[in-house]
Amino acid sequence: MWATGCGDADFTGQTDAELLTQATDELSYYNFDRAYGLFAEIRRRAEETEGDSADAENNWSRATFGMATAAQNRTPPSPRMIQEAADLYAELVERSPASEFAPRSLLNLGRLAEIQDHRQDRTDLEAARRYYSEVLETWPEAAIAGEAALRYADTFVQRYDNPASVREGLLFIASWIAEQPESPYASVIWEYLGQVHLQITQEPGLAIENYRQADAVGFIEPTVIPSLYWLIAQVSAEQLNDPETAARYYQRIITETPRSGRAFEAQLALGVLAEAHPALEIEIPAIEEFYLIDPADSSEPAP
């Protein structure tokens, strides 16, 4: 019953609101099969409601979007389910273009076109680009526009064996963020630019410039901050002849991420820089120890 996600379960006695809560919970648990069945039931009820009802319409939008999301992610992915997800998203956009679910539905249609969901599936960058472009054009000020801009640019960057295409993608995203510096995706976009310039086009100067922009607005993924600090310091010292930037980031590895495992190497690197550039008077911070409490202290009794 649940395994198929089909609607032969007995939902008698459960209100739409209860089913919606249950379906949303299942989605949060990544139980896509269960979520699919529940959203399908809510959608069926909404479609059977006679007359115009704002509640029914709202439920239909929610259920259709939830059902599409579940279908898109059910495992193992199948051509039938992926097609159903695409159809549901498209139906939602067509019937409720002003709904709050429309931009994400369009973006997800782009993802379905771009990602290889199953063995027979093929990446269609042109189709994906059209969907991302539509999100950008229709909702340029919305938070989702930042994500759409990144995805749009990446459809060009993915053509890595065509330098002109990569350049087009980079130019697009750089000009977009220049116009939308307050986007919630600003940090991700700057980091994206830094990574593409460093690893794909191999332009270390531009890479570090963009990484530092991302740092200025705050890297959003704490677990990679030590690696990014190290990268900035290393490239600055060894490829850009910028010992001041290098020293600053090595110092931050020690003071801000002492448990990253790189603090000691940062100390060594600072020692090398200090010797090569005595005029800079580079300081080498100490590494914070783990247990600062005197272990001889007896354990505190219960108050």
Binding site: T69, I115, Q195, P258, F290, L292
Partner: protein, 637 residues
Amino acid sequence: MKPRYFLNANGIGLVLVLGAYVVSVLTVLSHPSEPKGKDDTDGRRIVRMMHWQLEPGYREALQRVIDEYNALPHVQEANIEIQQLDVTERVYSQILNVHTVSGTAPDLCQQQSRSKTVAGAGIAQYFESVGQAGEKPNPYNAPPYLSAERAASLANRSWRETFVDGMQAGWNGELQDYFSVPTSSLGGTKIYYNQTLMAEAKALMRRAWAASERPAWFEALLLKPATGETETGYVPDTPALGEWLEGDSPPETLGQMLMVCGAIWEIGRLRDDNLLVPISGSTYSDVVFAKRYLVPFTSQYSESVNLNQDRLVSGAETWTGWKAGAWSFDDPAMTAYFDCISAICRQFPPGFLGLDREQARRRFVSGHAGMLATGLFDAKSIFDACEGVVVGSEEDTPTSAASGQEVTVVEGVERRGYRFSVGVMDFPIPGPGERWSSYAKYPASAANANGEGRFMVYQRSPNKAWALDFLKFLTSLRINEQFNRETNWLPIIAGAAPAPQITAFAPDPYGLAPDLRLAPDGGNALSMRTLYTGQFKNYIAGDISFEEFKQRIRGAAEDPRSGVDRVHFEAWRTDLDRIRNAESAIAVQAALALLQDEPEAGEGLRRVVRRSVLKHNGILNRVYWQQQFPDEPFPSY
């Protein structure tokens, strides 16, 4: 004719088996299949906590915490009772898998990475996120549960921020959320040593050092310039060596440790003790030494092989780097590494690959080995077995293992069941001028050691709130300190003091990043990992020479079907799978925001979008290939 007795040995066995079967069936049938969480006697709600930590002292320490929690007024009022379920590690993951899927798992389950149900995004299907709870303060870090003075140090800190590792051990990168709560820290693996044997070995070496004609075994330990292809001995004959031999300190360098090993072999010969070995090695400890020394010998390669420039060098990156010529088994550093590991493994018992961790521990505590490499989780059992118990202490009970044993006065303290004192030291690196010192200058750091004893809240538990509440209690400053001092583990809460005897295990931040080294046996090296691991064992066991080892590895690595090309190809395929997994996380986070009328583009969503977009739909592996091998097309299978 002899009468035939039914109750012969076979008959008794059959009766016992049948009896056990009947008892098992009746036990199963007598258990009601109603939802767990309700006691069938007095209506109490039972919150069960399942773990596999059967080390001596752990269950007792946990029980004391449980008893204290169960006695709290608000817990009593709610008729809640925490109970622990201990399960052997051998079957833990099967039990966890079966019960999570069938909906009957305990309310709290220890996380084990081998379990399929907690792998990757699967964990969200069965266990609750603790991310949101982690952002709020832990109520047990405030009065009346903690003195006002200590509570002040934790004021305004979220529960997550009170952890030494920031709760990183519970972080799931794929889902960008926290799913488990660590309760201890294990710090780094260390070398335990027998202080009596160590002193005896040093005394023997002192006499040999001072002798007018030094014995051959001692001469063999002194570093000699290379006459053939390799050097012999470990430590140069300098005044510094004499100074160390004169003192009481344990080995401070790798050369000194190997000299002690040589002296212990000599002690065994003098005592005619065939069981005595320098290092109680096993199939577990060869890996410990191999991984530990891989860092100082190969971290120099990390910048050139870490293609995606993240925080670890993977198996696939290692082998792609090999193909690209970034490193070779013929490099002096690699030759030195293999020579070093071979020298260490020669100090293990013969046939060590057939010995397991427990056998190695027993050999050490019985006094038949000078050293043992293992983690903090073995500390209590080793200290108790070797040093006995202090007479009159809480542990000196009629039921303790030392009960009835002889009393020895050690440094003015009466100890029952004392065998020898145990010291703990780090894995030493070669000292100046010693063998391999040109290649291994700094040790591996343990700074990024994460928490252990991680517990998850079962999603279908009817007692989720209480299960989470107990975890907060267990990881409050005072309780976590008390619990870990009793288990002899390191506390996970910042500001908690570890037991004095285990401070040596505190993660040492001084050293090289432990994951930035070559990883020929890294997880995604696939067939190369299997081959390397097998041939490495053959090499360290002395079954094949280094030349044979290199030849076999090279042959396999160059195989177009299963070698390095295949490893790189499969890394690309794995990346595609990860991209799709990230897509699920994006879809769920975005859908939840919309369905729950919350603002879109929250931090969690932006993080998974970041992960996804920086993978560029899997092209990076192709880009790296093109950059490394511009004339070779990307492999396809």
